[in-house]
Symmetry: C2
Subunit: 864 residues, 2 copies
């Protein structure tokens, strides 16, 4: 079932059960978020919303909710307050109903404390399984019977109660149960047995609506509001679909209260539950537990290093006939403290979110950013990431947290969906705990060995035999150049030449390519805004830079534009124009007349350049296969690149593929070399290699390249390394991601036998966009969709701000993009649903219609 079988095959016997495929499958490998669309998740910050979790079942979560609710409703007296209690998943219904308990108990507590209390209380159960409905009918059912949906009835079950008079000014308690099942078992079992299933995305959508209750109350009436979401069972108990609840609710990442375990063994359970929440990115604001005389709070506080408060509730009476009024009185101070902690934590959080843009402006020095052009409002406050989405803080409407699709894939690094992110998080914890970082040279440890094996069996398959690790694309390129030059010198016997000063080594590279920001990598690119004296006084440009023919879709057709300096008179139209992108990649083009044009241009240029200076040699070829990213998402004719590689290899010039951007499914295949049908001597990988979580780079090389560094002296070895070479965390992340993306069990976009991704960008809509009058050209390939906007010549280029207004609109739509001058692009991950891509394309198309690239005021610029 999995590409990689389980580590140990266990002999199946009576009591040994393994996962069974069935209709109701547990969606842990296919995450809850996979099928969500844009902008599903958002919630207000105008009032505090907390999730109540527990270390186990039966620890008194509902008592904590009730105590908190009472404290909140009473604390704000005489000003009115509102308490929203949400129970998303309830089993054992209607006998067990936590929202009914809160609904019944709160008025009792209020009256017990103050007979003059006023309150409007309501309790509603939104979706009840048909099995549970049958029990319910005949009790206090008062609604209208509607048809069943997915095994749920919608009986409009609702009850309401008033305390005192003058409820207009009084407090309000609103209780909601979202989904209820009859059997008192885990929701995933109840859902299965009662045939009443609910998708995670539906739970999230309904929860979002429930969380909107109370929004605005504070503004209009000045009342304080608190919302509580009470989970079912323990933190990692399965929800209705089988997803663990800590995973299910993660997109909201609500601050959390953990109800701990005060019993014998409870320290361990509480710490483990806390850790499960923590390694999913939740903030646990406080732990509260029942006193069992064991002082479990002492080791808990020690473990927490006093950073999280631990509160102890008095012993809960075991007599079921006890109405708990005494207990609530006794525990009042604890709940009041907890309430204060929660309010203060919420205030701290919102204060911090508000001050962040200003502080950032004061102390950050952002790369590639003209600070004078960034106003405070333009700073994006990112509260978290979940899969492909950012959760950002918006100041409007008293503040809220809203999702945005990270369509620039955070500088093209991103790959994980929500499920891979959780997996990576656990593995980062494991690897940091097992290895931290250990030094690499002359050593071996599991993550680096597995990583090297996967690289050589994957992107390096068929040609590479050695893996040289470094930290980022730029360092990987510097290493690649050192490798290539040595190989060239050895092959051409130039090391015997005693006068080293007489040899000048250059690279052959393409105009518009970009290989990194350190000096060595910059020297391999043609002059550009990045390389000027103002930026890098040491840049000289040590290359022979060729003009590449480019490919793009214009008005629905894929076309090749041939540079003017190629003599292309004999090329027929059929050789430069294609109905589909696949034709562009067709190997049969090797026989076209265009191929001859390319070959003769390349030969000529290589001759010309090596003639230009007697002692200057083309010591390496470096190309970004197929797409030149930073240059403006330029698609180079793959035929041209293939012929260039061939011509260089014929001349013993080592070939470097810079796959930092193109590698690991970015272009729909694991290595973009597959699209060129040829192999390099050296290739560089970074960005997506770790799944986009931490920096790691690798330079792969053939055995021939490696051999040119082998000898008797250490001085012949490649003396280049960084402190964290092959760091364990990076290698472990890479192992996870490499396997995840190429496994059709985890990557639904993979077409298994073909080893390529399904088409992510809707072909028709792409074509439609290419016809748009404001669009110059379009490129779609793998996870990339790019559009060059039509602009006046004066507005084109890297410093262009013409796309700003369009991108600001798209950010309002929940799509976070950054431009490359007048080129804009959307980039998804290898696992992103094509439905999400379709929605993004549709949104873009709509916005293009309204787009006028006026002159933009400076302070609203979005920089590339």
């Amino acid at each position: 079932m999995f590409q990689h079988p389980p580590l140990f095959f266990t002999h199946s016997r009576h009591f040994l059960r393994r996962r069974r495929r069935r209709h109701h499958n547990y969606h842990l490998s296919t995450p809850p978020l996979l099928h969500r669309f844009l902008s599903t998740i958002s919630h207000t910050l105008s009032h505090p919303i907390y999730t109540i979790w527990a270390a186990n079942t039966g620890l008194g979560k509902t008592l904590v909710s009730t105590g908190l609710a009472a404290s909140s409703l009473l604390s704000s007296s005489p000003s009115p307050s509102k308490l929203v209690y949400i129970k998303p998943l309830q089993t054992g219904f209607p006998l067990d109903s936590d929202s009914a308990f809160v609904y019944r108990k709160i008025p009792q507590i209020l009256l017990h404390r103050n007979p003059q209390s006023t309150l409007l209380a309501s309790n509603q159960t939104l979706n009840v399984s048909m099995q549970a409905e049958k029990l319910k009918i005949g009790n206090n059912f008062s609604g209208e019977v509607r048809t069943s949906k997915n095994g749920f009835g919608d009986f409009g079950y609702y009850e309401e109660r008033r305390l005192g008079i003058g409820e207009e000014l009084g407090s309000e308690l609103i209780c909601k149960t979202m989904y209820a099942w009859k059997e008192a078992i885990s929701p995933h079992l109840a859902a299965e047995r009662e045939g009443a299933n609910v998708e995670d995305s539906d739970v999230l959508a309904l929860l979002k609506r429930c969380l909107e209750i109370g929004v605005g109350s504070k503004r209009n009436g000045g009342s304080t509001v608190l919302s509580l979401v009470e989970t079912a069972g323990g933190v990692a108990s399965p929800g209705s679909s089988g997803s663990l609840q800590c995973d299910l609710y993660r997109p909201f990442r609500l601050p959390s209260i953990l109800v701990g375990d005060g019993r014998l063994g409870g320290i361990s359970g509480t710490i483990s539950a806390y850790e499960s929440l923590t390694i999913r990115g939740y903030d646990v604001v406080a732990i509260v537990l029942e006193d069992h005389g064991l002082k479990n709070e002492v080791p808990l506080l020690s473990y927490l290093r006093n950073r999280v408060p631990v509160l102890v509730l008095p012993s809960i009476p075991k007599d079921p006939s006890d109405n708990l009024m005494e207990w609530f009185v006794e525990s009042k101070t604890v709940f009041d403290s907890l309430n204060v902690i929660m309010m203060s934590s919420h205030q701290k959080r919102t204060d911090r979110l508000h001050e962040m843009p200003k502080k950032a402006q004061e102390i950050f020095w952002w790369p590639f950013t003209q600070h004078k052009l960034v106003s405070e409002e333009k700073v994006t406050v990112i509260d978290s990431r979940c899969g492909e989405n950012f959760s950002v803080h918006k100041v409007k409407d008293d503040g809220c947290i809203t999702e945005m699709f990270d369509a620039c894939a955070s500088w093209w690094t991103q790959g994980p969906n929500a499920a891979l992110q959780i997996k990576l998080a656990r593995d980062m914890g494991y690897t940091a705990a097992r290895f931290g970082h250990v030094m690499f040279p002359e050593n071996v440890y599991e993550p680096v060995l597995e990583c090297a094996e996967l690289l050589l069996q994957g992107v390096g398959k068929g040609w590479a035999s050695r893996a040289y690790f470094s930290d980022n694309g730029s360092t990987a390129i510097e290493i690649a150049l050192k490798m290539a030059f040595r190989k060239f010198l050895v092959d051409n016997e130039l090391l015997l030449d005693t006068d080293e000063n007489s040899i000048e080594l250059k690279v052959v590279a393409l105009k518009g390519s970009y290989h990194g920001d350190t000096l060595g990598a910059m020297e391999a690119q043609a002059p550009s805004p990045y390389t000027g004296f103002l930026q890098q006084p040491w840049y000289t440009g040590r290359g022979f830079f060729l003009d590449p023919p480019l490919v793009c879709m214009c008005d629905g057709v894929w076309k090749i534009s041939i540079p003017g300096n190629m003599k292309a008179d004999n090329v027929i139209l059929e050789d430069t124009s294609f109905k589909s992108r696949n034709e562009v990649f067709n190997k049969s083009r090797d026989d076209s007349s265009l191929a001859e044009v390319y070959s003769s241009y390349i030969s000529q240029e290589l001759k010309l350049n090596s003639r230009s200076k007697k002692l200057s040699h083309a010591g390496a070829l470096i190309i970004e296969p197929v797409i030149q990213g930073a240059g403006g998402m330029l698609m180079v004719d793959p035929l041209f690149q293939r012929l260039l590689v061939k011509e260089c290899q014929n001349r013993k010039i080592p070939v470097i593929f810079d796959e930092v951007f193109t590698g690991f499914w970015r272009l729909g295949v694991e290595s973009a070399a597959e699209l060129l049908f040829c192999q390099p001597d050296i290739a560089c990988y970074a960005k997506l290699m770790t799944g986009g979580i931490i920096p790691l780079a690798v330079t792969l090389a053939t055995n021939d390249v490696f051999e040119s560094f082998v000898g008797d002296s250490k001085l012949k070895a490649l003396l280049h390394g960084h402190s964290y070479s092959a760091h364990a965390l990076g290698c472990a992340a890479a192992c996870n991601s490499i396997k995840w993306f190429k496994d059709s069990q985890t990557n639904p976009n993979l077409i298994p036998q073909q080893n390529l991704l399904t088409e992510l960008w809707d072909t028709e809509l792409v074509q439609k966009i290419s016809f748009h009058p404001k669009v110059e050209r379009v490129v779609s390939l793998g996870t990339l969709f790019a559009v060059e906007l039509q602009v006046e010549d004066s507005e084109a280029g890297y410093a262009s701000v013409c796309a700003t207004s369009l991108l600001l609109k798209l950010r309002e739509d929940g799509i976070y993009m950054r431009p490359l001058g007048n080129v804009i692009y959307m980039m998804c991950g290898p696992c992103t649903s094509p439905h999400v891509c379709l929605q993004m394309l549709e949104t873009l198309y709509t916005r293009l219609n309204g787009f006028r690239h006026d002159k933009i005021e400076k302070d609203s610029e979005i920089q590339s």
Copy 2:
């Protein structure tokens, strides 16, 4: 108590308890490993050793141990086998004794299955609290009463039993309880109440001895051996000192069996316990749980993605009079399966450990390594790291895992002790789950904001106002150079010069300094083996390289050696010779005659160089403050560096401090600038900044430097960045580490008021070593202790292998070092106990006595 107070102050009331200081403190912030010395931990791989953990108390760990023991003892029949059962911590003794249960039950099971079974069984309790002893005496006590130690009696309690005859060939069951207390509560409470305390280090030392039982049995008699270590309570239940057991036993990192929870709510508890083990670096080989009819194994297998088997045991009879014989029959197949899984997993692990060196040699390309000089036996297999120690695999004696102190601090990156490592691991999980990586420019997110704040309040305090993040020291230097040059051009109004080609910018740098491996960083260093044409054909050396005066201890005295080209005739001896290191750093030296010599040399050189070429400018000064690391741990006279900084700043030449090596307590202070009493314009940090866990670098700059990039055009901005700029995991690690090292609650070496580390290297012993005839010079400062070995001139320098035999001996002693040519060094972390440092120095001194730097065979070289 803590430098940073708890996030929320909770109002203390009746039921709200906070941590109290008392005699018996819970050692979670001061980790169990802090006081361990060299080479404490090792265990055999000749037979499998497993730890039995449980998700909670009362889940049947001992039944699992018993079932496994029976399966193991029977499965190897007719060949004999040995089962070692170890219960480190037992409470409720003697009424509860898990080892007594196993001891009694196994013979019953064996006889029940085969009345002809033969077995020699024994049970021993090694340390019993005096309170429990009192109960025990009068029962089957048969030993000798000895004196109490730490509240424990040593009554030599031992029982033994034989089944059948011919026990010489029969199987053997050896049960050991290490420590036992009377009360049936958590060990930390029992230890406290009964006044019988045991340190973690003692538990580990005794466990190590118990794990040696059975070593060699396989070799001599061919019998199979299995050792089981059964923990108490849940995975995170406190041990006797209060340390969580999952932390306590971590140094052994034994493979684990987790007894899960089959009850309602048990899925969550099992998953959380699994995660607590995982984020401490344990490998859980299988989960086993009791059937409660809820099919908890189905969601568990789904969560585990079928990678870890989950086995289900039949329901355990609740009747206490049941002798469980029927149950053991029913569960036989499960235990047999589990046994097979454990054996096969152990075999897989050892096979992999054995093949790793060969595979590494075949596919790695190690940096700074001449592969021809690395034989397979010289490859170190690192199984894990715990704090400052590696756990490495040794092939001898049928294989074992042994600790070594990482005395090269993994290329000078390391800082964490075991407690910080666990904290960092949890935080890496949290940060990966919360943020993964999100892009930096124009954005703000919590870890990067906090990190920038901590940097500016810490190492940048008093001068820096902006933080520019990148990936490693080398990129941080390239950025620093770009900053400095721009500042220089702006200050000197050279940007108005239209002919950029007429300006040549150079750096002022010191000979023997090293700033990184990318081309731009290399250009700033004087010619060396790293910069030759063979290594970097593009290197030209764009610097004015000055000869620095060096400081070291020779024959017990700190001395300054002044380069020949400085006219130092008027310098008196008192100015170049010091009794203590502190005198070298004394600011009063500014008034010495040597200061004049330095100043005039510097002025002359700066004049000379700027005269040498009409248009070449010294556009930046770059220095490694105090210690030039890669150059051979050269200590530069701080007076010289201070004067150099002053002279450059007087000439409007921006000053860069390369603190990549020296920063963050490496030299005993947070920033080495504190030792120079002057401030730079720009400084670079990396390595230890993240606590040595993942790559992250920062370039700090003054506001003046920043301002030279501010303007109307994006083209004026600093256009340098890497994909993972300011990645969240790196920033979060940095936040943790920066705070940890400077908090005396977590760093026992910190002298709080003085903001410096205590002297880590014993002054007397350092002096003694400096007198050693084979020692040329010694430098000790902060976490660094370096020795230059006396060699013939021909053997000195980077490629020297003279130290090899000495370092191989030290590796046998458990100290992992790498040389820098004929310079060897030991480096610890900021929290490492001075006792450990003392032990290392003593070991080195002993080995120096036996050291003869013969010509070494090539294949035994250890490379720098």
